[in-house]
Amino acid sequence: MGLDQLRGKLAYQGLLLGGVALLTGAALVLADRATLADIKRAQAADMKQSLAQVLPGQYDNDLLQDTVTLPGPEGEVTVYRARRAGRVEAVVFQVQGHGYAGPVVSMMGVDRDGHVLGVRVIQHKETPGLGDKVEPAKADWIHSFEHRFLGDPPADKWAVKKDGGVFDQFTGATITPRAVVNSVKGGLVFFQKERARLLDDGSGAAAALPKPSLSGNTATKME
């Protein structure tokens, strides 16, 4: 029987589809095997890079291995812990706010006293030219959080100026900076609440948190 006759048969078509699926499936499995390790490595490098941006300074542990997952304001939060000589010096975690065109996801670093080390928006769909000024490449705005904590400004002033707070909004875009400011504030509240567990320093829930009124003393630790 020639190929032309064979091609008309119903069974041939089923076998053909099955064969194609088998071959392409095999190709995908091989490709997945061949690339998996390299992709993991590249993603870990990416993660390290974005962690380093919100975490100035030197730490002696592998942050990607030292994580703790806790219930946060927006579901589970994975917290990366940076240690020096075994002591947790700072933590990094993701926070999320509601922007103009969807979620605005930021990565923030907080030191053990609750001071913001750095914030970077890692994912957003805000309007180019307006809302995207939260990116450090477009404006310096995102640096305005650095060294601040709940107390400087006080909690009710952690807002954009339009809402009676201290942080600038952008001309023509208030929603995006509001989303970032509120999510960072939420992150600091989360840190305050979970501080003992996050810092993992054995002192348990008794660990005293610097009260906003005492903040002047802790401010001397800033670099």
Binding site: L3, R7, G8, Y12, Q13, L16, L17, V20, A21, T24, A27, L28, A31, D32, A34, T35, D38, I39, A42, A45, D46, T127, P128, G129, L130
Partner: protein, 226 residues
């Protein structure tokens, strides 16, 4: 035979251009042409898939029965796109960070299936691959042009961030066309894509009409003499 390749080249780049003549692949055309660099990157990735898909479809064209050809082609194209996706992710990770979002979109680009269906399944492997290459380059040309116009009017720059796509050797491409430009948001947002495409389509019509008139004039010299 060489005549056939000239035809394929002309078709792919101009006469039957995926964007400007077939008006196919509008999803990537509108979605990624906010800047010339993005357009170029998407075009090149699509070209790679087009060449491979056309060659493969041509290679199996005698085995595939006509009744199930569409699912077979789709599976082949989807596999190729996934292969491009994972290999870029693993071995050209910086490029992947720029293009990653768009690569999965190539599956949805009906131009790829269109070429398999309209051309590759009827001819040998070499002309099919050539067609993929030329159609891809035509697509790249169209996307880069639309992206360049939108970027120039919308942001005042051209080929911004080209070094991320092509390596630092191509940083010289990055130019600021209008310094201190405040930007014209509309062009970067989706309406800009439709506007630019509309004007370009109209422009191609005019050029094609002029060309046809000139050809008609050359073919009938006595008419021209009158």
């Amino acid at each position: 035979m060489s005549n056939q390749y000239t035809r394929i080249t002309k078709d792919g780049l101009w006469d039957n251009n995926i964007v400007f003549a077939q008006i196919l692949g509008m999803c990537p055309t509108m979605a990624v042409t906010g800047s010339a660099t993005n357009g170029l990157g998407m075009g090149l990735a699509t070209t790679a898939v087009l060449v491979a898909a056309n060659a493969l479809v041509s290679a199996v064209r005698n085995l595939v029965s006509p009744d199930v050809r569409i699912p077979v082609y789709i599976v082949i194209i989807a596999t190729l796109v996934t292969l491009v996706d994972v290999s870029l992710n693993a071995w050209a990770h910086d490029l992947y960070k720029v293009l990653g979002l768009y690569i999965a979109l190539i599956v949805a680009n009906c131009a790829v299936l269109g070429r398999a269906e309209a051309f590759a399944q009827k001819v040998g492997i070499a002309p099919a691959a050539m067609d993929g290459l030329m159609m891809g380059l035509g697509f790249t040309f169209a996307l880069t042009l639309i992206g360049g116009i939108r970027e120039m009017i919308g942001a005042g720059t051209l080929f911004a961030n080209a070094h991320l796509l092509l390596g630092s050797g191509f940083a010289f491409l990055e130019t600021t066309v209008i310094p201190e430009y405040k930007g014209y948001l509309l062009m970067i947002l989706p309406p800009g894509g439709f506007l630019v495409l509309g004007f370009l389509l109209a422009g191609k019509r005019i050029v094609d009409k002029r060309l046809a008139e000139r050809e008609a004039l050359a073919a009938t010299p006595q008419a021209a003499a009158v």
